[in-house]
Symmetry: C2
C-alpha cells in the first residue's frame, strides 16, 4: 500500500494519551490493541501512570527505546503539536491524530503549528485530526474509541470504507456488523491535515484485499487529484460515493463539522459520473451496491426475472424494475413449456412468476434453476416470504447451492420479523445477496448493470 | 362498524376445512382461534374428522345447532360454492373465503357461482376469496394461516391496515411486530368479490379504535366510491396508501394476482392528492408516516431543528430536510445565548447543532429542552449515536420524559448494531417515534406537515 502501508502493517504502536479510566478515549484505544488480534508491541504513553492494562507506561515516545511504526495521539488539542513534534523526532512515519479541536472550532493557529511540524518531517504521514482513525479487520489495527460492546466490528470482507465523518462511518460499520456484512478497512480521516481522500483512493487501489471502495465525504481537499485518481481506480475497483452537504443550506453545516467546503450537488454528480464513481444516497445504499458488486457475476444486460411466493411483492418488484430502468425478462418458450408441466395449474409462468402462497422448497428450486438456465434472463430477483408453512428451513441450503452454481446475478429479498430475518441472515452468511425490499435489490442491480456498461464503453 | 361489524366481533366462529394436519391452512386458522385470545365458541367443520384440537367436528355448518356469526372457508376452490351456499342457509352473515383459485387463475365460472349465491343471501357479506382474512389485535380474530412462530403478531395500536395482497400485508405486519409497532386491524381482502377497499374505508371510519388507515392495493373494484369515501374519511382519519402496479409493464402482473385492473400511476397520484390521501412508496414508509401521525402533535410549520452527536448525520439530516421541503430552523437569540453558556466552546449552536462526539446525557437534555421551548422551532430531529461511551442508557429515560412534555414533533433517529438497536427499541416502546435514517424521519415529518396544511386549506 505504497507510503501509507505503515498505517496498516505496523509492528509496533504507541498510544499517546493512554488512560487508566475506562471511559476515556485513550483507554479504549489501548484496550483495542491489547485485547484485539494485533500482534506487535504496544507502548502506552502517559507521564502520570506507571502501568496501564499490564503494560509499562512511558512519559513520551522519546523515552521508548525500540522503533515505533505507528503513533495514535489522543490528547487535548493544545498538547498535540508537542506530541507530534516528538513523533517526528522519534522518526515515527505514521501518526493518527484522533483529537479534535482544530480548525473545525476556529483554532487555525493549532492547525498551522501542525502543518509546520509536518513540513519539517517529510517522511511523516498523518491521518486526522478530528477523526476515529483506522479499523483493519485483517491486521487488528483498531483506533476506534468506541468499545466493541457498544459498537460491533464487522467480519473480514472485501469492502473498504473511507469516511470524512467518523461518527457516520462508525455507526454504519456497527450496522454492517449486525447485518453480517464483511469489511476490509475503515478509515476515518477527519480534517485531512495530510492524508486525504485522494491519497486513500490511491492506497486502496494497490491494496490486494480491497475489492470495492466506499467513500463518504462532505468537502474535498484535493478535488482535482481525487477525480483523476478515481478515473483510473474505478476501472479496476468500483468506487461508491456518498456526498453529504448537497445543498447550499445544508453545506453550511459542513464547515463547522470538518472545516472543509462543500461544492454544489450537480457539479459533484457530473464529476462522479465522468470518473465512473457510483453515487449512493446513503451509506446503507452504498453497502447494498458494494455487496452486490462483490457477490454477483457480471449481468449480460437489463433483463430481470422476478420469482415470488407473494403476489404483492411480485407486483412491487415489477414496479421497482421499471423505475430502475430494468427490463422484465421473457423466458424462452421451452422454459415456459417445461415449467408449466412441473407447476400446479394456478402458477402463472410469467414475469413476475408468482409461485403462489403454497409454494414449497422444490417449487422454488425448479423455478430458480429454470431462470438460471434461460438465456433470455440476465438476472434474477427472488422475493421470498419465509413465513409460509409450506417452506422449510432447508430452503437456505437449496438457495445457497443454486447461488454457488450461478453465472448471473441472483438476489433474494425478504421482509418480516425474527423468523424471516433468521433465514435471511443465514442466506447472507452463505454468500447470497439479500435485501429487505425489492426496490433496494433492484436499485443495486441497476447500479451494477450501469457500472459494467460504463466499463465497456470507456 | 356498521354492517361489517360482525367480522370483528363474532360470538361464534366456524372453520370450514378445519384440518388435523399441522401444516394445513385449516389447522393453523383453527389453532389461532383456540390458542389466541378469542373468547367465543369455535366449530371446526370437517366431514372426515371426529375431533380436532379437542373440539368436536361437524360435517357441515348446517349440522351445528347454535348460531354462527362468522365462517372462515379454507377448502379447495371447487368446493367453496357449496360451502358458501350452506353458510347462506345457516344465516351466517359474515364469511371469509381464504381459498384461492377463482378468477385470478381464470376460473370465472366459480366466481359467477359465488356471485349468484351472494345475490340470494342479501344479508351475507363476504371477504375474499384469495385472501388471508382478518387479524384484530383487540378481539383475537385471527384467520392468518401462518403460524405465529413464523409470522409474529403486533401488539395493539391505532393503525389499521387493509391490503389487497395477503402476502405483502402479512410480511409487513410480521416486520412491524418485530419493530415493536402497534396494529389495530389487518384486513386482507384479496379478490374483493363483495367487501372491497371502499367498504372497508367506511367501516374503519366508524371504528373508534382505528386512528390511522393504511391501504395497499393494486387495482380497485369501485374507484369512484373509494375516492368519495376517502375524501370524507381523510378529514377525520389520515389515510396512507401504497399503490402496486404503477406502470404499464408491471400492471400486467396485477391481473394474474388479484384479477383486478391497475390504473395509471399519474391518475392515481392526482386522485390521492385530491382526496387527501397520503401516498407512500412502500409499506414500511406507510408505517413510518402512520406512526409519526399517531405519536406526534401537530407541527406549527416547516422549521426543523436538528440536534446530533455525529457531525456527518447532522449534515445528512440537513440535506434530507432540504430535500423534503422543510426549513432549517433558526433558534431565538436568547436560546442561542443561553445554550452557549451551558455548552463547551467547541459546540456550535447552529442548525444542525453538533453536540460533538463526547456529548453526554445532560448535554442532550439541555439542547432538546431548549429547542422544545423555542418558538422558532416547529419540530425537532435528534440524530443520536448511542454507541459513544459518554452516553449511558439513562438517555432513554431522559428522552422519554422530554417526549411526554413535548408540544411539537420530536423524532429520534439512530443507526447501528445490537447495542444501538436495543436503545432505539426501548425508546419506541416508550412512545418515541424512532427512525433508522434521517431521510426516513424527515420524509415522515414532511408528510405530516403537508397533511395538516391540507386539513386547514380544505
Amino acid at each position: 500500500m505504497n507510503e501509507l502501508i505503515g498505517f496498516f502493517h505496523p509492528k509496533s504502536v504507541a498510544v499517546i494519551g493512554a488512560s487508566r479510566e475506562a471511559k476515556k478515549i485513550g483507554y479504549v484505544i489501548l484496550q483495542n490493541f491489547v485485547l484485539g488480534h494485533f500482534h506487535g508491541n504496544i507502548y502506552p504513553i502517559n507521564p502520570n501512570a506507571e502501568e496501564i492494562l499490564h503494560l509499562k507506561c512511558h512519559p513520551s515516545v522519546l523515552s521508548v527505546r525500540d522503533r515505533i511504526d505507528l503513533a495514535v495521539i489522543a490528547i487535548p488539542a493544545p498538547l498535540v503539536p508537542t506530541a507530534l513534534e516528538e513523533c517526528g523526532r522519534k522518526k515515527i512515519n505514521n501518526v493518527i491524530i484522533v483529537s479534535g479541536g482544530f480548525e473545525e472550532v476556529g483554532r487555525i493557529d493549532l492547525k498551522r503549528r501542525l502543518e509546520k511540524i509536518l513540513g519539517k518531517y517529510q517522511k511523516m504521514r498523518v491521518i486526522g485530526p478530528n477523526c476515529l482513525g483506522i479499523l483493519d479487520t485483517r491486521t487488528g489495527i483498531d483506533t476506534l474509541f468506541l468499545p466493541s460492546y457498544r459498537l460491533e466490528r464487522p467480519k473480514r470482507g472485501g469492502i473498504s470504507f473511507i469516511s470524512q465523518s467518523g461518527a457516520l462511518g462508525s455507526a454504519v460499520i456497527d450496522w454492517a456488523a449486525m447485518q453480517g456484512f464483511g469489511l476490509n478497512k475503515f478509515i476515518s480521516y477527519g480534517n485531512a491535515l495530510d492524508v486525504n481522500e485522494a491519497d486513500l483512493l490511491e492506497a486502496l487501489e494497490k491494496d490486494g484485499s480491497t475489492k470495492v471502495i466506499i467513500a463518504y465525504f462532505e468537502g474535498m481537499r484535493e478535488g482535482r487529484k481525487f477525480f483523476e485518481s478515481a478515473k483510473k481506480v474505478s476501472r479496476k475497483k468500483p468506487i461508491i460515493a456518498v456526498k453529504g452537504g448537497r445543498f447550499e443550506e445544508s453545506s453550511h453545516a459542513v464547515k463547522s463539522h470538518t472545516g472543509s467546503l462543500a461544492g454544489s450537488s450537480e457539479v459533484y454528480s457530473a464529476a462522479f459520473k465522468q470518473a465512473g464513481i457510483i453515487q449512493a444516497n446513503s451509506s446503507r445504499e452504498a453497502f447494498d451496491f458494494a455487496r452486490t458488486i462483490i457477490n454477483e457475476p457480471e449481468p449480460k444486460g437489463r433483463k430481470v426475472q422476478i420469482i415470488t411466493n407473494g403476489g404483492g411483492y411480485g407486483v412491487l418488484a415489477a414496479d421497482a424494475a421499471i423505475e430502475n430502468d430494468l427490463i422484465l425478462a421473457r423466458m424462452n418458450a421451452e422454459t415456459v413449456k417445461s415449467l408449466k408441466k412441473k407447476m400446479p395449474e394456478r402458477v402463472v409462468i410469467g414475469n413476475p412468476m408468482d409461485l403462489t402462497g403454497d409454494a414449497d422448497n422444490e417449487r422454488f428450486r425448479i423455478a430458480i434453476e429454470a431462470a438460471l438456465n434461460d438465456n433470455n434472463v440476465d438476472s434474477i430477483l427472488v422475493n421470498m416470504l419465509f413465513q409460509v408453512p409450506t417452506l422449510d428451513s432447508d430452503i437456505v441450503q437449496i438457495l445457497s447451492e443454486l447461488n454457488k452454481k450461478k453465472k448471473k446475478p441472483l438476489l433474494v429479498m425478504s421482509i418480516g420479523g425474527n423468523y424471516s430475518e433468521l433465514h435471511r441472515h443465514a442466506l447472507e452468511k452463505e454468500g447470497v445477496s439479500t435485501f429487505i425490499s425489492p426496490f433496494n435489490a433492484l436499485k443495486a442491480l441497476r447500479k451494477m448493470v450501469e457500472h459494467h456498461y460504463f466499463l465497456k464503453k470507456s
